[in-house]
């Protein structure tokens, strides 16, 4: 009875939330758990085949949602927290939403992304059969303290499961360490792809002995073919290696002799796709239609999302931490067109209150990005402005008005494309502003298409 009440309350709260225009999907679940604290464990028997959980600093939402799409394409019924609410409340919302009015549902798989610090709380209610960990980077340090604490949290969570199969990023020493003594399968990019630049490397020190480790090659941050000369710890044997990576046109790579070819941007998406491919294989799911799954999948908002404004391609991208921002900057650098760049930095609780990470991002590289104008905005607009000032970069516009900033870029005759890079809480308001402006300006057609790195997927 409590269960039913809780489900109804959550459903009502979701409807109410939508009416007032709130996009948060954790509040209804929090309410449901107050009414029925064991709601999730009561509902989990409705899942017949298995539970797969995705954790990790970056790429969690993309990986989780792509995995969900793939399972659905294979004809499985799933429940999934695809809006990205990934703490216990969000998980409860997902379960309650799946229910009919009798408080029950039928699904083959639960596909859940879970916040690293919340996993040990969620696993008290539901234990995963499969657990995928994408990577661990410095993120929101003021919430987690330090990366070592995140490792402890995840170890604690994994120890709560029974016979979980782990799918791990073998290129990441911080992630690969979870496989030690457990049933684990590793994915990785097994060749040198990018120039070997120096940037923030969080896990350069051996996860085992603390000495500095070395690399045969590395991809970005601490990801790569690593080994520790001191204690012998090294990159594990990779079960799902990506090779023949080609980023010149679309994104191509091979795994298991199969060529993957997708119109995605950003090197990091190789990991996301590879992670999903590996998970499907470990779960025993047929992957013969994998390319068609990928081509049908639309990345969620703000992942290099193209929003044309008044005939100019504008690309919105979310980055939450140095690794994410450095990847976004690398993607911007690959686009040779004359461009406007807008950077929006907030410091609300979900962003992390501490903005010192801005100095760990290689923003200096924008100086080689063929910029027409540079705009800074967001709650901490002065901090990000100082970051640019101390890289000797000229800021053309410091403003708290995103709409006017966008308009200026759209009207700038010198630029061909506009990149809008935002952190977490700036994402939804920025997207709303962009879509509003799109309506206001009318035409969605992109007028000037460039040959080099031009956007081809015009709607």
């Amino acid at each position: 009875m409590r269960k039913l009440l809780a489900v109804w309350a959550a459903k009502l709260a979701s409807v109410a939330g939508r009416i007032v225009g709130k996009k948060s999907s954790s509040t209804p679940g929090v309410l449901a758990l107050k009414i029925c604290p064991n709601l999730i464990s009561l509902l989990k028997k409705n899942i017949t085949k298995g539970v797969i959980v995705t954790c990790g600093t970056n790429g969690k939402t993309t990986t989780n949602n792509l995995l969900n799409t793939a399972l659905q394409k294979c004809g499985y019924k799933t429940i999934c927290n695809n809006l990205g609410a990934n703490m216990i409340g969000g998980i409860a919302t997902t379960f309650a939403q799946a229910c009919n009015i009798f408080g029950t549902f039928k699904a083959d798989y639960a596909v859940l992304e879970i916040d690293e610090a919340s996993a040990r709380r969620v696993f008290k209610h539901i234990k995963p059969d499969y657990m995928l960990i994408t990577n661990l980077f410095r993120d929101q340090l003021d919430r987690y303290g330090e990366i070592d604490i995140t490792v402890d949290f995840l170890n604690e969570a994994i120890d709560m499961t029974d016979r979980v199969k782990l799918i791990l990023n073998g290129d990441d020493p911080l992630t690969a360490q979870f496989g030690e003594g457990r049933e684990a399968y590793y994915f990785g990019i097994s060749e040198q792809v990018l120039p070997q630049v120096d940037e923030t490397k969080e896990g350069r020190f051996c996860a085992k002995c603390g000495e500095e480790q070395e690399y045969n090659y590395f991809h970005y941050s601490q990801l790569g073919d690593y080994y520790c000369p001191h204690c012998g710890n090294k990159r594990p044997n990779i079960d799902f290696p990506a090779t023949k990576v080609d980023l010149s046109e679309s994104m191509k790579f091979s795994v298991d002799g199969r060529e993957i070819d997708v119109n995605y941007r950003g090197f990091y998406n190789i990991y996301n796709i590879l992670a999903v491919y590996s998970a499907l294989n470990v779960m025993g799911i047929d992957t013969s239609n994998f390319n068609s799954v990928l081509s049908g999948y639309r990345p969620q908002i703000g992942r290099m999302e193209l929003i044309p404004l008044g005939g100019k391609p504008c690309i919105l991208n979310l980055a939450k931490n140095p690794a994410g921002f450095n990847q976004a900057i690398q993607t911007v650098l690959l686009d040779k067109r004359k461009k406007d760049v807008i950077v929006a930095i907030n410091d609300l609780a979900n962003d992390g209150r501490d903005v010192s990470w801005l100095w760990d991002v290689d923003f200096d590289k924008f100086s080689g990005a063929n910029l027409s104008t540079l705009t800074t905005t967001g709650i901490r607009l002065y901090d990000i402005s100082l970051r640019f000032k101390y890289s000797d970069m000229k800021i053309d516009n410091i403003t708290s008005d995103m709409k006017s900033a966008l308009k200026k870029c759209v009207d700038n005759p010198e630029s061909e494309v506009c990149y809008v890079l935002v952190n977490y809480t700036a994402l939804y308001p920025t997207q709303t502003t962009m879509l509003g402006l799109q309506k206001e300006l009318g035409s969605n057609e992109i007028v000037a298409l460039d040959k080099v790195g031009g956007e081809r997927n015009v709607k």
């Binding site: 340090l141 003021d142 303290g145 330090e146 990366i147 070592d148 923030t200 350069r204 020190f205 603390g210 500095e212 209150r353 501490d354 903005v355 010192s356 990470w357 801005l358 100095w359 760990d360 002065y382 901090d383 402005s385 100082l386 970051r387 000032k389 101390y390 890289s391 000797d392 410091i398």
Partner: protein
């Protein structure tokens, strides 16, 4: 007003173990000192002293910077610095400029006591640190008699640092926790040592503090030095004021 360019001034900044202690954008402090020297026509030589770089002669430094790291990395650094203890002590006692942040701050003290171990510090400052149960995290606003503008920054530390009488705190806490969460004070100033929990890009938002550090170094190296040429600090001051006003009523 001096003409610094003509004087061919040159400042050597040694960044100790940036490969180990680099937790929160410490680069920002180095970049700030470097640019504020260069914008005035003073040459800034940055030496990144890594853990492989053991022969470094600290006497060549005009400014030494030590940043913050995770507990694990801090312990490694502590071991390496203990070997240089006398060298650092001599440097400080003759007025060498040293800026220490977070973990670097704790290292200068007598010890850092955690639940499990007692990490021996350099004992250069008469301070000691006990680990608390909670982390002290958040924006900080300080008031310091040395500067007309508040010092603003961000802290994130489990250690509670107790300072003895002979040291002056860097500032009085107007918002945030500071050294212990209770003492009402933050950081330490001793001779030309500035040690603080305010991490990462502290200096860009505190141009007066940065210029104070640079002035100390220049005066020590060039006795005839007359003072820094003013810079346009409008953006820096706005950033400072934004944090100060947000967390405290007008100071």
């Amino acid at each position: 007003m001096s003409n610094n360019t003509e004087n061919n001034y040159e400042i050597n900044i040694i960044h100790l173990y940036p490969d180990l202690l680099n937790l929160y954008g410490d680069k920002g402090n180095i970049a700030c000192m470097q640019k504020r020297l260069e914008w005035r026509g003073i040459k800034a030589n940055i030496h990144q002293c890594t853990n492989k770089d053991n022969d470094i002669d600290l006497k060549t430094a005009d400014i030494i910077f030590v940043g913050g790291g995770s507990d694990r990395e801090q312990e490694i650094v502590c071991g390496m610095l203990l070997e240089k203890k006398d060298e650092i002590k001599d440097y400080i006692e003759v007025g060498g400029v040293l800026v220490a942040v977070c973990g670097g701050y704790q290292l200068l003290g007598r010890y850092y006591q955690t639940a499990a171990t007692k990490i021996e510090g350099l004992g250069i400052l008469d301070i000691y640190t006990d680990a608390g149960d909670t982390r002290l995290i958040g924006n900080v606003v300080l008031e310091s008699e040395m500067f007309s503008q508040p010092i603003v920054g961000f802290e994130n530390h489990a250690g509670r640092t107790y300072i003895r009488d002979k040291h002056t705190p860097l500032g009085r806490v107007k918002y945030g926790n500071g050294n212990t969460g209770e003492s009402g004070y933050e950081g330490v100033i001793y001779k030309n040592v500035i040690a603080t929990y305010l991490h990462g890009p502290l200096l860009p938002k505190n141009p007066q503090l940065c210029d104070y550090i640079l002035t100390c170094a220049l005066k020590r190296k060039y006795p005839e030095f007359e003072g820094l040429t003013p810079l346009d600090n409008e953006l820096e001051n706005t950033a400072n004021k934004y944090v100060a006003n947000k967390y405290t009523k007008q100071i």
